[in-house]
Amino acid sequence: MKHPFPFSAIVGQAEMKQAMILTAIDPSIGGVLVFGDRGTGKSTAVRALAALLPPIMAVQGCPVNSAKVADVPDWAMLDEKTLVEMPTPVVDLPLGATEDRVTGALDIEKALTKGEKAFQPGLLARANRGYLYIDEVNLLEDHIVDLLLDVAQSGENVVEREGLSIRHPARFVLVGSGNPEEGELRPQLLDRFGLSVEVASPKDIATRVDVIKRRDAYENDYTAFMLRWQAEDAAIRDQILTARRALAELTTPDKTLHDVAELCLALGSDGLRGELTLLKAARAYAAWRNDTALTRMHVKEMAPMALRHRLRRDPLDEAGSGTRVARIVEETLG
C-alpha cells in the first residue's frame, strides 16, 4: 500500500503545519480548521499528519480504542482484552455519511440474521482518542453538524434511537478543511475548532516548482522519496514527543496570563474559550521550541491562529480577520 505524502515534504504552508503539530503536542487545544483555495495541499497535509502521530496504547479490538481494560464498553463484547500499540486513529468523515454511520446504529446484520439487538459503532467511536477529519466541512449537512457540535463539546456520544441506549467516549481532535467561497461555517461550529489557519497557493515560482517536483518524485520515485522524507517525519515525531514531556515542566507566569486576557478583551472575542485556547497553543508552541518559560513572544505568535475565527463578524471591516488580530496584537502587546 502506498503511504500518504509525507508531512515534512510539504513545501511551505508553515502556519498550517505548525497548527497541526501543536494539536499533536496537546490534543486538548481542540482541532484545526484549514480554509483556503483549491489546490493548496489542505487534504494532503491532514492525511500526512496521520503518519506523523506517535502511536497510542489501546485495548486490541476495542471499538472506542480504550486505553484501559476496565474502560472497554460492555456492548463491545470482547472476550480477550490485551493492550497493544496502535497508530493514532485518523478517521475520515465523508460528506455523504449518514447519521447512522456517524453516531453508530443498530447492527442490521445481527438484527436480521440472529434477531439480536446489537450496537454497531460509528465513525465517532473509531475516532475516539484520535483525529476526526472532515474535508469540505462547510458543505456538511446541518443535522450532522448539530450532532458533531454536541459530541465535540461533551466528549461523549449518546445514541438513543431504535430502542438502543448507548453512550461511549468520543474525544477527538476535529480537523476540518474547506474553501470559504463555497459557504460559511456557523459560528458555533467555528468555535469548536481550537485553531484556524488560512492557506494560499505559494506565489513565487521557485516554491511552486519545488511543490511540483516533490509531488512528481512521490509518484514516480516512490521508494527513494519515502526513504528520504520518512526520516524527516520521524525527527518531527521525536520532537513532538519531547515537546509533550516539556509541556508538563513548562511554567506559566502571571504576566502572560494577563497578556492573554488583555488581548482577548481588546479583540472582543466571544466567551472564554479563546483565552484558554490561546494559552494552550502558546504553551504547546513554547514546548515545541523547547523554551523553558512562556513569554509574550509565544502569545503574539499564536494569537492569529487561535483567535481569528472567534471575532464577531464585522461587515464594515474589509481587512481579513487575521489582519485584524495582528493589528490589535501590535496595539495591545506592542
Binding site: D37, L95, L106, G115, H143, D204, I212, E219
Partner: protein
Amino acid sequence: MGRGSRGSWKKPLAEAVWHRAVLALQLLAIDPGLGGIAVRARSGPVRDSFSALLAWLPGVQHRIHPAVSDEALFGGLDLSATLATGAFVQEQGLLSRPGTLVLTMAERATTQLAARLAMTLDAGHAHRLVALDEGAEPDEMLNPKLAERLAFAVDLSEISIGEAVSVSDFDPTAAITHLRQVTVPDDICDQLTRIAAQFGIDSLRAPLFALRAAKAHAALLGKMTVDADDVEIACLLVLAHRATQMPGSDEEEQDTPEPEQNETEQDQSDTLDLPDEMLLEAIKAMLPDNLLERIAAQKARQGKGSGSGAARKGNRRGRPMPSRAGRLGDGARIDIVATLRAAAPWQTIRKQASGRDSLQVRSEDIRVKRFEEKSDRLLVFTVDASGSSALSRLAEAKGAIELLLAQAYARRDHVALVSFRGTEAEVLLPPTRSLVQTKRRLAALPGGGGTPLAAGIVMALEQAIAATRKGLTPTIVILTDGRANVALDGAGNRVQAAADAQRMAQTVRSQRIDALVIDTGNRPEPALSALAQTLGAIYLPMPRADAARLSQSVAAALED
C-alpha cells in the same frame, strides 16, 4: 492519428479542436491520474461521436446524473435482496470500484455532488470522470471544484458533424506499459510551473496535470523522454483553458514580483529546446479574444445568488434530498421505501415479540421526505430623501418603488425600507411581506437635508446581512439622484462622503449581496454609475419616469 502538424495546433479551427479533444481522451486513457475531461457540447451527433470514443477508456463505465443519490454512489443496504434472503446484503456503490463515471448534465451538478466526486478523484483509486456539460449560457458551467480536478476541458459546441472526422481505433495498452519508462528532464517542471504562473493559474494541480499529460503524450508516441513537443501539447490541453490572464498584462505585473520575471528570462535561453515565448504564443493563440471580459463576468457572478434566491431545505417542494427520520404531520410526506428499509431489520425481533406474522412498522421507522427549495428574496429599498431629491424627484422615486413592489408582490418577496437624509439613515420598515404597510410608510416619507449615501448603504447592508441569517436572499435597491455630500461621521464633506460611499459599496460586494442602483436624477450622474460598478450592480438611469419602461428594465435586472 489525432495529431496534426505543429501548425494546426496553433489555430482554433474546428477540426483542430476536434483533434485536440480526441488526443485528450487518448491521454486520459493512458493515465487515470489525469482525472478526467470536461466536454462542453449540446447533445447532438458531434457529442455522440465523441461519446463513442469513450470506449477507449479502460475499466467499467457508469452514467450518472446530477441528482444521483449517495446510496447509488457509495452503496448501502440492498433492500430487495435483504428481504428476499433474510440476510444482510450490502449493495455496492458506483464508486467502490475504479472505473469511468460519465456525468451527464454536468453543469447542473450541485456543490455537494461535486464535493463527493472530487473526493473520489482525490483518493487516487484510478477513477476517471467524463463531465458532459450542456451549458447553454456562459454562466452555466461545470462546478469549479470539479473542473479543477479534471485535466482537460474541450468545447465541441462550435464543431459541425463534418469536422468531427472519424478516427481509427486506439488501444492504450501498449502506451500504458510504456508510460512507466518515460523520464522527464529536470527543466520541464520549471517550465510548466512558470508558464502556469504567467497565465495566472493559481492552483498547483494545473502544472502537475500538465506534467502528467506531457508524459502520457510521450508514452503515446513511444518516446523515452519528454520533449518540447509533448510539453507544447500538454500546455495546450491542460493550461490553456485555465488561463485567467494574458502574460504581460497589467494584472500580472502586480502579482508577480520583478526579480522572478528576470530569472524567467535568463532561464529560458540556456537549456530549453522550446523557449517559453513560443509556448506562450501557442497558448495565447488558443485563448478566445474576449478572455478578460469573460473572466470579469465570471468573477462578478461568483457566489452571487441569481434572481431565484439561495437554496434552503423544506419538506414539501423542490429537489428531493435524502429522507430523514421524522414525524408525520406538519405537511410532511412519508418516504415509503426508506420507511420500509428502516423497519426491515426489526421484523424478526418484532414478530418474535408480538407473535403476529405480518409486516410491523412502528412510528420510529417513519422516514420523511425532504426537499430543497429556493429561498424567498428580500428587497431592501434604500431611498434618498435628501433635499435635492425631495424637491425634484421624490414623487417619481416613490412611483418607481410602487412598481417594484407590484413585482415583488407577484413573486411573493419580502421588502424592507431604509431612507437616508440629513446626516443619517433610518430603517422605516423592517423586512416584511405586508405591502400595504410599506406603501403607507412610503407615502409618509419626509424629505429634506443632505445626502448621506454611505450611511444609507451601511443601514441597508445591516438589514441584508440580518436577512441572510434568516435564510432570505437579499437584494439592495438604491434610489438616489446624485452625489453623496455627507460623510459617515455626519460631516458635510463631499470628497469624504464619496470615498465613504465607495468603501461601503465594496463591503456590500464583498458580502456578495446583489444590488441595483436607480438614478432618479434629471441627468445620469457619473458618480452613481461608478458606485454601481463598485457594487457589481446594475445601473438604471431613470431620466423621464416612464413607468412601463422602468417596470420592464427593473424586471429584467432583477430576473438576471
